[in-house]
């Protein structure tokens, strides 16, 4: 089991996590890392996670707007912002996908960027479910 997924006494948010092609569980929400980042305070974790849930749709709209305008530099900035926010909150899948998008837009390869962007919405939904589950799970 991935050490990021389950730390005794902390939130995991990864129950029923799907497996990737390598057969390892996909970690949508690295709650342990975020909890550690905020010094173990569960309320702080909640505040940071809720801020991300509130702001992420804006970030995703920024990605879509840049794609629609074929604005590679704008897409690069939007992907960078999404990657940073996702890394902060422990949204590992979103972070990695934003990284792919950022790389593609930096080339720029707008076809690859579009492909990467197509998956962001579903990954955000999966993250939101993982966070909701984690926040509802008592320690």
């Amino acid at each position: 089991m991935n050490a990021e997924m389950t730390l005794p006494g902390t939130l995991t948010g990864n129950q029923n996590a799907p497996a990737n092609e390598a057969g390892t569980a996909v970690v949508n929400f690295d709650a342990s890392a975020l909890l550690s980042r905020v010094g173990g305070d569960r309320q702080s974790l909640r505040l940071v996670a809720e801020m991300f849930l509130q702001d992420c749709p804006r970030l995703l709209r920024g990605v879509q707007a840049a794609l629609a305008a074929a604005d590679a530099p704008g897409l690069h900035r939007a992907a960078h912002a999404l990657r940073g926010a996702a890394a902060t909150v422990g949204a590992l899948v979103l972070r990695d996908q934003a990284n792919v998008l950022e790389s593609a837009s930096g080339i720029p390869d707008m076809v690859a960027a579009q492909h990467a962007a197509d998956m962001l919405e579903a990954q955000f939904t999966a993250f939101r479910h993982a966070v909701t589950h984690a926040l509802e799970t008592p320690l």
């Binding site: 010094g39 305070d41 902060t88």
Partner: protein, 138 residues
């Protein structure tokens, strides 16, 4: 300790706010010009610390840093005696970090910011005592 966070990303801004809250008052702004304005307006009750995001749209952290140091020089503040400025940046941004040190920042943190790394830097910059840092995030 009075802190000012200049960060355009709301999630990262919230995290820094939470991490700095145990040390005193903390003001938040979302872009470079607002950060510069907040610094200028606080001449008679200055900030002890500014956390400055390097990559922001419009006026980025490098230009805010340069402008703050220029204002301090104009006020007669000697180099090394101004407000402590910590640049925040993401991995793989080494050239920006080097540039920031050339413009007299006092330290940097790689995002996502971690409470222990922040505390360590605050102690190194003599902004907080080690005992206070130890109590802030148990």
């Amino acid at each position: 300790m009075r802190s000012l966070i200049v960060e355009d990303n709301p999630t990262e801004r919230r995290l820094l706010e939470i991490l700095l809250a145990p040390y005193g008052d903390c003001a938040l702004v979302a872009n470079g010009p607002a950060g510069l304005q907040a610094f200028s307006a606080a001449e008679f009750l200055p900030y002890d610390l500014i956390c400055l995001d390097i990559q922001m749209p419009g006026m980025d952290g490098q230009n805010v840093l340069k402008a703050i140091r220029a204002i301090e020089a104009g006020r007669g503040v000697l180099a090394g005696h101004g407000v402590k400025i910590i640049m925040t940046t993401m991995l793989g941004d080494g050239s920006n970090v080097m540039q920031a040190f050339r413009e007299f920042c006092d330290g940097y943190l790689v995002k996502p910011v971690d409470c222990r790394k922040l505390e360590k830097l605050l102690v190194e910059l003599a902004l907080v005592q080690p005992a206070v840092a130890a109590e802030s995030h148990v």
